[in-house]
């Protein structure tokens, strides 16, 4: 796993990444598999349950890590740059797929 930008946050980051990865791996494949036959209601029910699992399992370590990394971002003088970047490209919704070179 890659380090955090502040060495003091790295242990929390690794704990959080591990928690996320475990959750994500249990989430993704069933979510993809149910595409074929789940109703929208079943899909929403699954998403809601897994979102709650994520909060239950990883919410605590996330808040500790987030507090640490927010301080690190500030200490490295990145807060203003991050805010400007968010203003320029909010990216609140998923963008459309980029159009690449043609394969001809």
């Amino acid at each position: 796993m890659a380090h955090s930008l502040s060495p003091e946050c790295t242990p929390l980051k690794h704990a959080y990444d591990s928690c996320f990865n475990t959750w994500f791996e249990s989430y993704l494949q069933p979510a993809v598999a149910q595409n074929a036959n789940a109703t929208p209601a079943q899909r929403t029910e699954y998403s809601k349950k897994k979102a709650e699992d994520f909060e239950t399992n990883c919410g605590g370590v996330w808040r500790e890590y987030k507090a640490c990394v927010q301080k690190a971002v500030k200490d490295r003088g990145l807060s203003d740059l991050l805010e400007q970047a968010r203003d320029e490209h909010p990216l609140k919704e998923q963008p459309s797929i980029p159009v690449g070179p043609s394969k001809t």
Binding site: Q29, S47, H89, L91, Q94
Partner: protein, 177 residues
């Protein structure tokens, strides 16, 4: 303004590539990426879409003229926003430079979509532009250098990610052996 794009097909199912996304760094092909931090993440309980905002810290030597003209150091930071939508099997990653952003902008977009049950299509585009408020010759030269560096890193990123996926999945997916 310079445009860059490349396509690639990974010989792994979409879900394997998307799980692998979070294991791309550290990577011996991409030693310039030193740190990766999540600064925001949400799981939409309605749609199941995961949105992640990360800051990547890179360390790469810059030519003396770049350092003299633009200041700065070897440290450069990038903001990255990714979306993973399991229902549509669409993953997108958008990145922009934080460092030197007063002089130039680099906006990169990547998507991973299924090409077949066992293959994933990768499309990467980027727009690189020096900001107009500086001396033209310097702006052109600076933009040229940024493009060259971006292209090198894009190539290394693709090769490096292919290795990560191979290592992660070679013992787990005998149908691809």
């Amino acid at each position: 303004m310079h445009f860059f794009s490349q396509n690639h097909t990974y010989d792994h199912p979409w879900s394997h590539v998307i799980i692998g996304m979070w294991h791309k760094y550290p990577n011996p092909h991409c030693t310039h990426v030193i740190t990766v931090d999540v600064v925001d993440r949400s799981v939409d309980p309605q749609t199941g879409v995961i949105r992640t905002e990360r800051i990547l810290g890179c360390k790469q030597k810059a030519p003396t003229w770049v350092v003299k003209l633009f200041g700065g150091s070897e440290d450069a930071f990038v903001r990255e926003i990714s979306f993973v939508d399991p229902s549509t099997q669409r993953a997108t990653i958008s990145s922009q430079n934080l460092s030197l952003s007063q002089f130039a902008s680099c906006f990169e977009q990547i998507s991973y979509t299924p090409a077949s049950a066992t293959q994933t299509s990768f499309v990467q585009t980027a727009e690189i532009q020096a900001r107009m408020n500086m001396w033209r010759t310097a702006a052109d030269k600076f933009e040229g250098w940024l493009v060259q560096r971006f292209e090198q890193n894009a190539h290394l990123g693709k090769v490096g990610f292919a290795d990560v996926l191979r290592t992660m999945w070679e013992n787990k997916s005998p149908q691809n052996a």
